[in-house]
Amino acid sequence: MPEAPAGTLYRGREGMWSWLAHRVTGFAIFFFLLVHVLDTALVRVSPEAYNAVIGTYKNPVMGLGEAGLVAAVVYHAFNGIRITLIDFWSKGTRYQRVMLWIVIGLFVVTMAGFLPRHLGNVFGGH
């Protein structure tokens, strides 16, 4: 493998870690999506088949897994917008680091809104 050239946005520090997290989350979401389409396709088999499989998802372990997936999607989405701004906005590269902190801020706010609601539904036993 040839060495990567030095001094790019993607080598070291925030740029590299945000890229790595973007890659890992995108990869994970893709495999979840494959499973998610397959389980939803069970509505075409019968109401009983769909409810049975979805029922096995309704436990705290899966509930926490869902929270993790939502976290992955929220990060990937906000950081994806950041990548797009870096590429198309003339000042994008100059503000890439600031924008990462904005992404993290928006991530925290979104998850703070989502988690209590979701975990309430998962553990609240409606």
Binding site: M1, P2, G26, F27, L33, R44, P47, V73, I81, F114
Partner: protein
């Protein structure tokens, strides 16, 4: 595929210039990742809001919930668009990851064939389900169906 990096400003010669694969498809893919990403933010956040936050969230999801949503053309089109865009975006993203890490030609080919197979199966299946779905299957118990089936 051996990659050699030329010295900066080395004059271009016939032997170093690539003669195959000179298309713009990688550029179109690059643009698509960004365009689809912007749309997916709206589609996925709307999806997550409707299914996990609105009403009783995840604990309310069952056949009746899905059937109720797909009775409306809005959610059919929403989910269809989300399925296609997310699958093309995700498949193209994973293709990039395979290209980055799988160095042997054979490994790359096997992984990509599996990837494109998964893409085809999931997109075709998902599309068929959205279009051939019956919210009120005739022989199903009424208590599992959305309320409008008995009306």
């Amino acid at each position: 595929m051996a990659v050699s990096i030329e010295a900066p400003r080395a004059p271009r010669t016939r032997t170093t210039r690539r003669t195959t694969g000179r298309t713009n498809y990688e550029l179109y893919g690059w643009v698509f990742m960004r365009a689809s990403g912007v749309l997916l933010v709206v589609l996925i956040f709307g999806h997550l809001f409707m299914n996990l936050i609105d009403g009783e969230g995840i604990s309310a999801i069952d056949f009746g919930f899905v059937a109720g949503k797909w009775a409306s053309p809005l959610w059919q089109v929403w989910d269809l668009l989300m399925l296609w865009l997310a699958m093309i975006h995700g498949t193209n993203g994973v293709r990039t990851i395979i290209n980055d890490y799988a160095e042997r030609d054979g490994t790359r080919i096997v992984l990509k064939v599996a990837l494109y197979l998964a893409f085809t199966v999931v997109v075709v299946l998902g599309t068929l389900v959205i279009f051939t779905f019956d919210p009120c299957p005739p022989d199903a118990p009424a208590n599992l169906l959305p309320s409008f089936c008995t009306a």
